[in-house]
């Protein structure tokens, strides 16, 4: 006679342990996470938990540890592009969409506190009611969670207001992989958030508490250290007036000089550089048709806005415009008055909002899919990477897989995010992704620093990296059982 030992599925154990938690095992929902745009078919998650609040989330992490279930937090909606929302085996998705509130907006301190599920459109709208605006990445996709973007150190288009690569992220609340609950920065205390608010504090100091900065180890960890429930962020006052300048040049060099000049003078609000394809993708949603735009639009452009400051605004605007005009003359820059999609004012409006609901990311440029390769460098090194990407594309990729170049100065111009996105037809994905690790290796060999390595490019981006060795030690301190985001950022250096 044999005794049958009933082994229960970890998901069932979790459901039993947390009465009332919302869970779905419906195939159509699971399929949302069974692959993304970078890898159409991957492992299927075993369930989707939607915790209603911090207590349920903490209970879920604690139970997951004991029953051996792995958890992958997801705050943004589909589509996902980078492979960081792909489930590994025996992994449940933690859908953070119930954490949906903008909790507090503080105009005086220029800070907002928002939960993980708040997406950029909602954030932008709520902040506007208080005379503030978010420091947006370059037209983020509509369903992108603001907290997730900032936790990923996604660059924003406001380099002058980035004092630290961590900006605009300030404080966070986290449930670590150990199940421990923590608040970082000045949010830690003394006192609850309510106590701090009553005392005039507003979670604006990102450092500490004490002699470590745990916000910095949660940030950039792709969900492998802890699950953030809310964060506070720096915001900008909405200016009374703002003007966008777009300058063009056949070469990147003069525009890089212009960017340095403007940032050293601390004038711009928004500032970024890109190629003609970017200008087209941003303003028309499509890749430029070379024949139609090549004569009319320069190969490279720089977009920079200036905003009227709150006091003595008119003389400051005059001063900035005068200096910008003089700079353009000296560098022989061509002022671009119209973009492929409209006026420069239209472009400014585009830059101040996330993408519209239902519209695809500009990185797809109307082709149905995209693959991003991005890293950190400095502006004066950027053109060497343009050459490498261009040569690689010509030699190894299809002719219709030209890149979109986007160069985003960071930290007031001290470094920059360099990005080549490859819009492509969905059926060409597999082949393209096969090629990209080699591009990453070549870029690294030329000095590219892949500070945010994702998905299929992680290995190529981190092989032999000295600090990469520290990553697993950091992860081990906060998630000793490796239950969080098991497919992400597992690097050995």
């Amino acid at each position: 006679m044999s005794v049958q030992v009933e082994t229960r599925h970890p998901v069932d154990e979790a459901i039993d342990a947390i009465p009332g938690i919302t869970v779905s095992r419906a195939l159509p929902r699971l399929q949302d996470f069974t692959g993304d745009r970078s890898q159409p078919s991957a492992c299927s998650p075993v369930a989707i938990f939607t915790p209603k609040g911090r207590n349920e989330l903490q209970a879920l992490v604690e139970v997951a540890r004991t029953v051996g279930l792995r958890l992958l937090p997801v705050s943004s909606g589909v589509p996902h592009y980078r492979g960081d929302t792909l489930a590994a085996e025996n992994t449940a998705i933690v859908d953070m969409s119930a954490f949906s509130s903008v909790v507090r907006v503080d105009r005086r301190n220029r800070v907002a506190l928002l939960e993980a599920g708040v997406r950029f459109p909602e954030l932008t709208k709520v902040l506007a009611n208080h005379g503030l605006r978010p420091l947006l990445p370059l037209v983020p996709r509509n369903a992108k969670s603001a907290l997730a973007a900032y936790l990923e150190r996604e660059p924003t288009i406001y380099p002058r207001h980035q004092w630290d690569l961590a900006d605009p992220l300030l404080c966070t609340e986290v449930i670590f992989g150990t199940g421990e609950h923590f608040r970082t920065g000045s949010a830690a205390g003394p006192g609850s958030l309510e106590d701090q608010w009553a005392a005039g504090d507003a979670q604006t100091n990102p450092m500490g508490p004490g002699q470590s900065d745990l916000m910095r180890v949660v940030q950039g960890s792709q969900g492998t250290v802890g699950i953030a429930t809310w964060c506070s962020i720096k915001c900008r006052p909405v200016p009374t007036s703002e003007e966008l300048f777009v300058f063009g040049s056949a070469d990147l060099g003069p525009l890089v000089e212009a960017a340095y000049h403007l940032l050293h003078r601390k004038h711009p609000e928004i500032l970024f550089l890109g190629d003609r394809a970017l200008l087209s993708a941003l303003t028309t949603g499509r890749m430029a048709d070379v024949a139609s735009v090549s004569g009319r639009y320069p190969q490279w452009f720089l977009a920079a806005s200036i905003a009227e400051p709150p006091f003595a605004g008119a003389p400051k605007m005059r001063l900035m415009k005068g200096e910008i005009g003089e700079m353009a003359r000296l560098l022989n820059l061509q002022r671009v008055e119209r973009t492929p999609g409209g006026t420069v004012e239209d472009l400014l409006r585009v830059l101040l909002e996330p993408s519209r609901a239902g519209s695809a990311s500009w990185r797809e440029a109307g082709k149905g899919n995209t693959a991003e390769v991005f890293f950190l460098t400095t502006l004066d090194r950027a053109s060497r990477f343009v050459d490498i990407v261009t040569a690689f594309q010509a030699r190894y990729l299809r002719r219709d897989q030209e890149p979109i170049f986007y160069i985003q100065p960071l930290l007031g111009g001290r470094s920059c995010h360099f990005e080549a996105s490859f819009p492509h037809a969905p059926e060409a994905s597999t082949e393209l992704w096969r090629q990209l690790p080699e591009l990453v290796r070549r870029l690294r060999a030329a000095g590219a620093f892949f500070s945010r390595p994702y998905g299929a490019l992680t290995a190529a981006a981190t092989e032999g990296s000295p600090a990469a060795r520290l990553v697993s030690r950091i992860q081990g301190m906060f998630d000793p059982d490796s239950i969080l985001s098991p497919g992400n950022l597992r690097i050995t250096g």
């Binding site: 119930a98 507090r104 105009r107 301190n109 939960e115 709520v126 004092w163 630290d164 690569l165 923590f182 000045s186 830690a188 205390g189 006192g191 701090q196 608010w197 009553a198 005392a199 005039g200 504090d201 507003a202 100091n205 500490g208 508490p209 004490g210 002699q211 470590s212 900065d213 916000m215 910095r216 180890v217 940030q219 950039g220 960890s221 429930t229 601390k266 006091f311 400051k316 001063l319 005068g322 950190l376 460098t377 502006l379 007031g412 111009g413 001290r414 470094s415 690294r444 590219a448 620093f449 500070s451 945010r452 032999g464 990296s465 600090a467 060795r469 520290l470 990553v471 992860q475 301190m477």
Partner: protein, 624 residues
């Protein structure tokens, strides 16, 4: 392992003097093999020169910290790593120091720790003018870096400890407050990539160096190691040794060299053409709060800070007698609601804009300004300055101030010449702010030394709240005659990153040769720490090291347990002396315990006044 087991391993109790001497000799011999005879010191006289330290009395009751086992002076990162590995091998601890300004770079227990003096690593490796960063070694001071940076149109953040201090120590290991914070941030936030001799002796280059051969970025790949090595404060030597780091520099619209004349103690700095130095005064705390927020948001100030009247009296004078006279002038004595400002510009047009913006802000708050702007509008601002002060003082006291105030101007005419006399005050202000040079006159000279309290990094409103709480607590100790009567409110600090966060610390001056004063000041610090917790004024700048974590960690999400986890993960041998870092098993000795009991038995009465703060902000939705 626990840090406590290691640090109180009983050597001090059990070792005989002979055993200690033998250990010292062993360590010396092995160090000599690594570094050469010349670069190892065990001579007691030399060891004592390292031990004589600022606020040593808080730890030892004397002005000396315990002696190190030996002093090692490595020449480069490889030698540092060799020393660290040797310490690990021999089971002794080590502690790094850069420029060595304070008891936190000394051991707490005698004859156990090798002090690694990094003065031979003294090079500015590179200044990248375009990308606005510098790579420095530990012994490069703020002064040196600023001098070189200015030649290239750049400037550097210098912490309030002064321009003689290490740039790297504040960026990697210590704190980073300073009055240039409004435009040049906080040391933690200015750190880019760095070279780290990890606690076991392995050298790692964190950030972009591995790939790019340069240190322009310090975060990644993935999570940032910057969060491991420091928080608002660093590990104070408790987590290895930093041998090189990159820090952000900032645009400088000024001359390649400051134009200084005269000699110590009466330097005169000629304020460059497009620069403004001003003391801006308003009528009360509420207006001061507004003033800070508005100047911060306007992004017009390069330096912005709050100096209380007593500190100003110190900075403006060359000795205590003169300071006492100046402090008596009612006009100066009552200059509580004031901020000092330096604005720089590249052109007349830009300076005109900045002056207009400042004027709009100050006049909007009913305030005035004393500055080096002698235009009609500038003179009007000065008249408004006098009006604000006279309204506060009453006409009679105001008029009584006039002769002494004119006396000050005459003094300056004698010192600097008639033509420069009207600019002397703003010139002193300008140079003190630019070189972060207020300590000697502003705090040390009054009674010998000082300690400081409150000073959390919080909103400007909350910083002011903390300053007001701190002053009330301090009044108790002033009334008891153990610290200098500086008016009670001697809150010093400013705003950072355009006003994103701020700090105001409550200075307390005392005589370090008076054991009672040393003890009572420690009580003052303990009491202000309790007040930070009770009145929600953030985690104080004293929230550093095990005794203080005991007070703050339970009130702030038990943060110290995570710091301890970092320590044990990266330094399982506890080789880096962590007595200023983390030790959850720390137990106070009888002296500390008695101090705490004394505080708890007699706490100062504090009344909370929030009239300065902005209107309450409605919460839009509850947290889930």
């Amino acid at each position: 392992m626990t840090v406590a087991a290691k640090t109180s391993a009983g050597w001090a109790d059990k070792r005989t003097p002979e055993e200690i001497a033998e250990l010292r000799e062993t360590v010396r011999r092995r160090l000599v093999l690594e570094l050469g005879e010349r670069w190892v010191e065990t001579d007691p006289c030399v060891l004592d020169t390292y031990s004589w330290q600022y606020i040593a009395e808080a730890a030892t009751g004397s002005q000396y910290m315990p002696r190190a086992l030996a002093i090692a002076l490595p020449a480069d990162a490889e030698q540092v790593a060799a020393v660290v590995r040797l310490c690990n091998e021999l089971g002794v601890q080590y502690k790094a120091m850069s420029t060595g300004f304070g008891m936190w770079n000394s051991p707490i227990e005698p004859d156990k720790v090798v002090q690694i003096d990094l003065r031979r690593l003294d090079r500015i490796i590179k200044i990248d003018a375009k990308n606005m960063y510098a790579i420095v070694e530990p012994y490069v001071t703020g002064n040196q870096l600023q001098t070189e940076a200015m030649k290239l149109g750049l400037n550097t953040h210098i912490a309030g400890c002064g321009a003689q201090c290490s740039v790297l120590a504040s960026a990697t290991s210590m704190m980073g407050q300073g009055l240039d914070g409004v435009s040049m941030g906080f040391s933690n936030r200015n750190l880019l990539g760095f070279e780290w001799v990890m606690p076991g002796g392995e050298i790692v280059r964190v950030g972009s160096f591995g790939d790019a051969g340069d240190y322009f970025a310090g975060d990644g790949p993935g999570p940032s190691v910057r969060g491991v090595i420091r928080g608002f404060a660093g590990a104070l030597g408790g987590l290895g040794v930093f041998t090189r780091c990159a820090v952000k520099l900032y645009p400088w619209s000024g001359p390649k060299q400051l134009d200084l004349e005269g000699g110590s103690p009466n330097f005169f700095a000629r304020i460059p053409r497009h620069h403004t130095a001003a003391v801006v005064v308003v009528k009360d705390w509420k207006s001061l709060a507004e003033l800070g927020y508005r100047i911060g948001e306007a992004e017009i100030a390069d330096y912005l800070g709050r100096n209380a009247p007593s500190l100003m009296a110190g900075v403006l004078t060359v000795d205590n007698a003169e300071a006492a006279e100046v402090y008596k002038i009612p006009m100066l004595h009552e200059l509580y609601y004031a901020l000092v400002v330096v604005m720089t510009a590249a052109s007349t047009e830009e300076m005109n804009y900045k002056r207009s913006a400042l004027r709009e802000i100050v006049r909007g708050l009913g305030g005035g300004a004393l500055s080096n702007d002698f235009s009609p509008a500038g003179i009007q601002d000065f008249l408004r300055f006098l009006k604000v002060v006279s309204a506060r003082l009453g006409t009679r006291a105001f008029l009584r101030s006039m002769p002494s105030f004119l006396g000050l101007v005459l003094r300056d005419a004698r010192r600097y010449g008639m033509a420069k006399a009207p600019m002397a005050l703003t010139s002193l202000l300008y140079q003190s702010l630019l070189r972060s040079g207020m300590n000697m006159r502003g705090v040390f000279r009054f009674a010998g030394t000082f300690w400081t309290a409150m000073g959390s990094l919080v909103t400007w409103d909350n910083a002011i709240r903390g300053a007001r709480v701190g002053a009330q607590i301090k009044r108790k100790y002033i009334d008891q005659g153990v610290i200098v009567d500086d008016g009670g409110d001697n809150a010093w600090g400013g705003l950072y990153e355009g006003g994103t966060f701020s700090h105001l610390e409550e200075l307390a001056m005392y005589d370090q040769t008076d054991p009672e004063a040393g003890d009572r000041v420690a009580e003052y610090v303990a009491e202000t720490n309790l007040a930070c917790v009770d009145y929600h004024c953030g985690d104080s700048l004293n929230a550093v090291g095990p005794p203080f974590h005991r007070m703050f960690s339970p009130a702030c999400m038990d943060y110290d347990k995570y710091t301890y986890r970092i320590k044990t993960t990266f330094d399982p041998q506890n080789a880096a002396d962590a007595t200023m870092f983390t030790d959850p098993a720390f137990a106070p000795d009888a002296r500390l315990e008695a101090r705490m009991q004394a505080v708890l038995a007699d706490r100062a009465k504090v009344s909370i006044d929030t009239s300065h703060a902005g209107a309450p902000v409605r919460v839009l939705a509850p947290l889930h």
